[in-house]
Amino acid sequence: MNFQVIIPLLIFLIIIFLIGVFASKKLANSSSFVQDYFLGGRELGGLLLAMTMVATYGSASSFIGGPGIAYQTGLGWVLLAMIQVVTGYFVLTILGKKFAIMARKMKAITLIDFLKERYQSKWVVLLSASSIILFLFSAMAAQWIGGARLIESITGLSYTSALFIFAASVLVYVIIGGFRAVAITDGMQGIIMVVGTVVILAGTIIAGGGIPAIMSDLMAENPNLITPFGADGSLTPLYVSSFWILVGVGVVGLPQVAVRAMSYKNSKAMHAALIIGTIVVGFIMLGMHLAGVFGRAVLPGLDTPDTVMPLLALHVLPGWLAGIVLAAPMAAIMSTVDSLLLIVSSSIVKDVYLNYIRPDAPEKNIKRISIGVTAVVGVLVFFMAIDPPAFLITLNLFAFGGLEAAFIWPVVLGLYWKGGNAMGALASIFVGVLTYIGITVYYPDAFGMHSVVMPVMLSLLSYVLGSIVGRNRKRQEHQEIINKYLL
């Protein structure tokens, strides 16, 4: 064991834990537990909003899986990763003020609250709650595996004990602190991610003897490494562009990101978050993926590219600094997991239990149930992650695609198109999820594109068709929704 590396990591975990305790104190004085636990009482300022979006979105794949593929593929993968800069400003401009204003009129706390009020349909709520639970569960499992692998590779503990440490620390602060703890720790984790990126990139460039030297090393090994087409020439412009939908514009449909677009304090906070978010997302994506590519010149011939980040940190930095830098992927993973955990439990507690099972539950019960469900979900994911599947990034991106295919149109067109109705939303979620699973399983890379593209197009079509077909049902109710929220 390398104590120089472990001590900074331990300090990091302790601080996170203290934030949870601090946030739980605030929760104890709260007048509306649900609003506070799941949304932090809509008081995020610009910096915190930007950081929590970046941290939630920047996950194990940006710090472990992504650099790993960049190591294998070369600059082409950095090009692909840089698409994600779009998310920094796109989510907040598209959902933007309209979503914030409407969510406040509706008193919505979760994405599903929004869908419930907008479409007034039990089936829309149940179907979306189940897609969220299904897909976020698999996304979470992927993140936990990443977290455990990281602790395993740093400390030399067994995978299971690493997973246990990771799970225990996340569960404690989420369960006691709720959304506010998650947002504050996200803010801190975002900063750690930025600092970690700078340090590791600088360390790698120095170890590689400067950028021109690294480039000629790469070119000597395989000239394709410095083209946009990838080491084996397989990154076609069409495929790379279709990623633009998956990790760029489609992110609007992710519940864990969308919920943040309703949690900000005022439009000033949103404006600040737009700018900070763009800079931070781009910076982390560029820096981490470049470090992955450069790592090839410093540490050639790794068998498991996923380990390039930890190995690079240990190789090019002094021990204590490596510990701080390795807190960055740790932070990325934890900050994604904590939000997913909260979204899944809010879907269960708020969207299913409080809506349909016991709407009149007293405040005291709600508190117990929220905390209990969060704990149970966490423990279930722990058991799922004990025997993990091989490809981390695949599982994570799989879940992203599924949620995007399900929600992007019900959210976006629900905001901007008066004609959109429950029939359209149902058709869209149904077709999106089914075609996504079908295409991923039976016909991946359909027409040379990532498997998310077709489902997103088909679910758009279904939304429009469904809305037209369902136009004459419940005319009265539909007009009321429009008058209340869309005019």
């Binding site: 600059l75 950095v78 090009l79 840089m82 698409i83 800069v85 779009v86 920094g88 400003y89 796109f90 401009t93 598209i94 933007g96 003020k97 309209k98 914030a100 204003i101 406040r104 009129k105 400067g210 950028i211 021109p212 690294i214 480039m215 070119m219 000239p223 394709n224 410095i226 083209t227 946009p228 087409f229 412009p237 562009s241 633009w244 760029g248 514009v249 005022n266 439009s267 000033k268 404006h271 737009l274 700018i275 763009t278 800079i279 781009g282 560029l286 901007y416 008058n483 209340k484 005019l487």
Partner: protein
């Protein structure tokens, strides 16, 4: 709802929100064109004929590094000059036309 006593007019903030969403879409289109154009415009040449800027192949520099800087500048300008500060709560002073 009481917000709509201005009948037919609706929420005065929505047109502004819609305009800002369109600006977002325009920004994304421009970003994609820049990113794609430089990457494949310069990057499709044979590797031997690549030129380098700050050690990076030119396609990568223009597409991913300069492109990123340009987008940051555009986002700052757009937010500063085109986006409006709005009250988000409906029951505050936000309902005046």
């Amino acid at each position: 709802m009481h917000e709509n006593f201005n009948k037919g007019k609706g929420d005065w903030r929505y047109p502004i929100a819609h305009k800002e969403a369109w600006i977002g879409i325009a920004l994304v289109m421009f970003h994609f064109a820049w990113w794609y154009g430089f990457a494949y415009g310069f990057g499709s040449k044979p590797v031997e004929s690549y030129t380098y800027i700050l050690g990076f192949p030119a396609w990568f520099f223009y597409s991913c590094i300069l492109g990123f800087i340009i987008i940051i500048i555009l986002v700052i300008l757009v937010v500063r000059f085109l986006f409006k500060d709005l009250p988000l709560e409906s029951d505050e002073e936000g309902d005046r036309p």
